[in-house]
Amino acid sequence: MANVLEVNGLTKEYKKGVRAANEVSFSVKEGEIFALIGPNGAGKTTTIRMISTLITPTSGDALVGGYSVVKQPDKVRECITYLPDEAGAYKTMTGNGYLKFMAGLFAKDKAEQEMFVNRAQQMCGLGDRLNEKIGGYSRGMIRKLLLSRAVMTAPKLAIMDEATSGLDVINALDIRRTIKNLAREQGMSFLLSSHNMLEIEYVSDRVGIITGGNLLVTGTIDELKQKYNAENLEEVFELVVNTK
């Protein structure tokens, strides 16, 4: 299977000499769900933002669908969608208005725009409340709206920073299931980040453990459990971070 994402030595220094991400390298295959896990301030968001072409790497590069985030960011943006951590939406718009607006930025023509909107409407499960202003939505509703927005265009790679943060158990489960289905049935690839190990263990195919800007290990969950002789991902995480 081809690699949708190939990250080679991505490094970011916000301040000279301090590396928020240090030589990070990994890859994500087609239809695969990859998760970056690590404590607060580990460099997850920094790495993700570089891949999303929002910030430029100090050194290194990443290829999305074969396009370089440094040299061809315009091409990369056509292959990805990005869902930021704790993101909001335009409060004066209705849910439908927001979906239509965002679809307009990705679609080539009106027909495609309508198709995207329809897909999101069915996926988000908000029903008639999509006609209401986003200003009156709860956090969970906004997250669902944004999530359906992020997958409605069926991107090669959907990038989600803390996909289920701020959601209750039922909603989080719902979203994990959606992500898994999209990967299995439509062959979409996902790059997720989280510090919720349980969630990651359920949803992702492969994980990378990052701390202090360094990506320490990558592998499937079973591989890692065997390698560290651990019961679950949380133990793996503890061992990796402590033996460093």
């Binding site: 916000y14 999303s52 990005y82 335009y90 990705f106």
Partner: protein
Amino acid sequence: MKFRNLLKKELSELITPQAIFSMIFTMVLLIFMGQIMGSAMEEGFDTSEINICNMDNTEFTEKVLSQLEEKGSKPNMVTISGEDYAAELERLDLNSVIVIPEGFADSILVDKKPAELRYVSELGIGFSGTMSSVSASDSVSAILDTATDEILLQTYGMNEDEIARIKEPVQTVEFTTFSGKTANISAMSLSSVLMMQSMIAPFVIFFLLMMASQMIMTAISTEKIDKTLETLLSAPVPRITVLMAKLVAAVIVALLNALSMMIGFFFYMTGMMGNVTDMVQTETTAVAEATGALNIAEAMNALGLSLGVGEYLLFGLQLFVTVAIGLAISLILGALAEDAKSVQNLTMPIMIMVMIPFFITMFMNVNEMSMGIKAVMYIIPFTHSYLAINNLMAGNMLLFWGGFVYQIIFFAVCMFFAVRIFTTDKIFTMTGALSEMFKKQQQPKAKK
């Protein structure tokens, strides 16, 4: 198509029902206030009603009062007892009264001494109050004037023609000069008209700048805080398109606001000044026939004060560049915002830059200031905006173009930085660096 989509979104965010309401509300309020101010002034200037207490009751005073009536005043005769004027005014429910004491005629006609005339008025506070005390003393001079006529008529046996010649032996013909040109008109009648012109422009500029910069700062900072900007900039749209949609929307809304404000302010000024200008104008036309003085429109042309089409276009262009500078600065400031609180602090620099030259140019002549202050004033780009209309009227084209070119350069520099911030990752990394800088500065203070 993507630009239209973005522009539509920006416009729908800026043109909310509240925004439309406040736009119409300001306009109506201005028009309404103009009406109120106008009628207050009219009342103030109205000299036809005078309260008079005639304690003299001689043939002479009766004659003076009937003369006064012939001249168009309506003396309201009242009776006052004693010298507790405050109580008497309150009892009669009056604001002012003119008291002609007993022996008024005798003093003039028999003793040939200046007679005493008392004018009692309640101190007026506020706009209409001040105006009415001014006009009340006008009615005193009206009495004095008629009294003089009676004296000349009765004691010196003069006829009306002779009296007129003695009272006005000289006729003043007023000339006004402005930037090297001379016109046959009184300066006062012109300045009341000019005041209107030279006040509308700065007010419109002031509100326009405030509104436009507030708008773009809120637009950028809320997008940053809600992280909708990250979503937007990771979509397949050139960043410059996103930026342009924001700017174009802000310009459109700012111009809509300017238009409604200009209409409102125009009616405000005409409502307020209309009566005053009318009075000045009738006065001038009476004299004009005798002296060949020009009417106001003619005089404005003769002095080069009226703006031609070309000059209006230049002013419009200037206004546009002014708004563009405001937007560019606000773009940069908005990009620095981290949370709702920091937005408040970040509006300060632009507020100061807009406000200081607004007040200074309104009350002082920048060109007559000391070199240092003048330089500071001219460095602030908006000073040139406030001075533009005066420079155009005065034909100071060198100053106008100098300011204009400076503003364009200023705009280009600001826009260069704004575009750089938006097209690089500065828009996301700048704030972090800035807040760390602040933390470092605050730490030593905290230790003390």
